[in-house]
């Protein structure tokens, strides 16, 4: 990244610091497994991989754009009403996403039902706007938004993968478990479809995550 000769003060687009903004939320600052935010939507929409994927993409879109918009507006927002402004921005973006989903993937949109609307109340989004976008320039804010949403997204996909595979024997709606297993007496695990098992799956992911990343283990 040495081609920035015109403006040596300007930071490179993907400087190490900015890369951190993207990669940290995927691992050691993960919104779900470390900060334990946004759990309700993980329980609700991870029965199938398809809904998980659509939800993840929606959140990435909303979060990236919301962070940029708030970051652009950050000097003009009076601190007293900043929450309302943030909510308005998120709500507007969520309505857009909802309309797009209804137009192009209607069945998924029906399955997600109220949870698309509830992206507005997703604590991760509000949290990043408050903690990051209000004090940072648009580009880092954008990276931060995308990174956190991706951190949320991969957990969503992981949970959705196991729940659909073990609960319904399918992935993206296609049967994966071969028929001869069913003939041998294999049964789909109905417990995986129930919300408690989503919580346990998230718990196991957190367990594995902390096992791989020892710095997260609180030994106070």
């Amino acid at each position: 990244m040495s081609d920035n000769t015109n403006n040596p003060q300007k930071e490179a687009l993907l400087s190490p610091k900015n890369q951190k903004l993207l990669s940290n939320p995927l691992d050691r600052d993960n919104p779900i497994t470390v900060q334990v935010l946004g759990i309700c939507s993980v329980l609700a929409i991870t029965v199938q991989l398809k809904t998980s994927l659509v939800m993840a993409i929606s959140v990435v879109t909303v979060m990236g754009l919301a962070n940029v918009i708030i970051s652009l507006l950050r000097k003009g927002i009076p601190p007293r009403i900043r929450i309302i402004v943030q909510l308005t921005v998120i709500a507007a973006l969520v309505i857009l996403v909802d309309q797009v989903l209804k137009a192009f993937v209607y069945d998924v949109s029906r399955q997600l039902s109220v949870f698309v609307g509830l992206i507005i109340t997703n604590c991760i989004i509000m949290g990043r706007l408050e903690a990051f976008a209000l004090n940072n320039k648009p580009w880092p804010s954008f990276l931060d938004g995308i990174g956190n949403a991706a951190g949320y997204g991969w957990v969503l996909l992981a949970v959705g993968f196991f729940r659909e595979l073990l609960g319904s024997g399918t992935l993206f709606g296609y049967q994966v478990i071969p028929n001869f297993l069913y003939e041998m007496g294999y049964e789909n695990n109905g417990f995986m479809i129930l919300p408690p098992m989503a919580l346990i799956t998230v718990g196991v992911i957190i367990w594995v995550h902390r096992h791989r990343n020892r710095s997260l283990v609180d030994i106070s």
């Binding site: 007496g185 294999y186 049964e187 695990n189 109905g190 417990f191 408690p196 718990g203 367990w207």
Partner: protein, 391 residues
């Protein structure tokens, strides 16, 4: 015995630090302490060491479960031959049950112990003896027709999620055996409710007798078919369909005597569970709007898993309340909730499992408030006495 001891001593160096199988030390230790009392000596603090270590305690529970297990085996055979309308001798009935039940026990023990040994090796702690009991409880609380791989899966789930994630034996919040049953109940509902209680695997030329119904007493009541309800004596003796170990109240009572005599099981909890169950059943009797509510309260004690759960599940020393008063509250609420679920919720004919798991979760809270109340009372007493002294 001496030869066995010599053998253990001879192979011991292989497993100790620097030995060939150092990694398997915990496995070795588990077998060693299973055979002989450990030669540990207390080095500081109080020099009292009870012979009742956890292994011995757990073994008492296993002894207490023997009558239930033996009766359950016989009943499996008895129900099977009843269903196909064959008159066979007592021994044949028992043998049939033995052949059907033994694989369940073996699978449960094998899968659970493998997990236990793996975790003990990784975490370098002693192998937890708690599974000696759980491994036998799991086959006793499921129908005999449960596929073996489901038993293995449920056992592994219960040991890992129910016990090891919390830190092993003594740290668990939920009773592992009940957790295994709950896992099966929600994961594979069709294998744990309906007409699954009797082994109806037919051989060539056999057929089910006319009018055969494999429903449990509770299912019969939930369906409102009072005429099919077994007599009280049948339910007390246990010659009725049900999970392997739960049917016979007599056998459970024998186990209860052993538990109480050895001091392993808490009498307080057993008494208060029964009291809670009777209390709730009486209340339903007062408002009896259907047949289920109108049955005599003591019927609830001999139907389904009430007796078994009271004696073997609710008294689990780890997951029950620890304080004396707390045990009364804990037990009483188990009884109340069980009858409530049985009578009011048509989706779950049997409420014992859910009631105990529910109260397992609340046991620490009960303890907390009992302790807090005690502190408050004693503080008040302290204040009043100091005031008296001053005046």
């Amino acid at each position: 015995m001496k030869a066995l001891h010599n053998l253990v001593e001879k192979v011991k160096p292989n497993f100790e630090k620097g030995g060939k199988f150092e990694k398997l030390y915990r496995t070795f230790e588990a077998f060693e302490t299973f055979l002989f009392v450990q030669g540990n000596v207390t080095r500081k603090g109080s020099h009292i060491r009870d012979a009742m270590d956890m292994k011995r305690t757990m073994f008492h529970v296993v002894i207490a479960m023997t009558p239930v297990l033996l009766f359950g085996m016989w009943n499996v055979g008895y129900q099977h031959f009843l269903a196909i309308g064959l008159e066979v001798s007592f021994i044949d009935q028992f043998l049939h049950g033995l052949i059907r039940v033994l694989p369940l026990i073996v699978v449960s023990y094998a899968s659970g112990l493998i997990v236990e040994f793996i975790f003990a090796t990784i975490r370098n702690h002693e192998v937890n003896e708690g599974f000696l009991v759980s491994g036998l409880l799991i086959p006793l609380v499921i129908p005999v027709t449960t596929p073996l791989w489901m038993v293995a899966l449920a056992t592994v789930f219960a040991v890992i999620i129910g016990k090891e994630v919390f830190g092993g034996t003594g740290m668990n919040i939920l009773n592992p055996a009940l957790l295994a049953r709950a896992f099966l109940f929600f994961a594979y509902p069709s294998y744990l409710s309906g007409e699954v209680w009797i082994d109806t695997a037919l051989q060539e030329g056999q057929q089910l007798v006319d009018g055969f119904s494999g429903a449990t007493a509770l299912a019969v009541l939930a369906a409102g078919e009072m005429q099919y309800l077994p007599s009280a004596l049948e339910m007390f003796l246990g010659t009725i369909p049900g999970s392997i170990g739960e049917t016979s109240t007599v056998a459970v009572l024998l186990g209860a005597i052993v538990l109480i005599a050895t001091g392993v099981g808490s009498l307080r909890i057993m008494v208060s569970v029964v009291a809670g169950g009777l209390f709730m059943a009486f209340i339903f009797n007062i408002f009896a709007v259907n047949d289920f509510m109108a049955i005599p309260p003591y019927y609830h004690l001999i139907m389904g898993g009430f007796a078994f759960g009271t004696v073997f599940m609710a008294t689990d020393p780890v997951t029950a309340s620890q304080t004396g008063t707390g045990k009364y509250i804990y037990g009483f609420l188990i009884g109340v909730i069980t009858i409530l679920i049985r009578v009011v919720n048509p989706a779950y004919p049997e409420g014992m499992m859910l009631a105990i798991l529910f109260m397992n979760v609340f046991a620490p809270l009960v303890d907390h408030y009992v302790v807090a109340a005690n502190i408050k009372r004693r503080l008040r007493r302290l204040k009043s006495t100091t005031v008296n002294v001053q005046s």
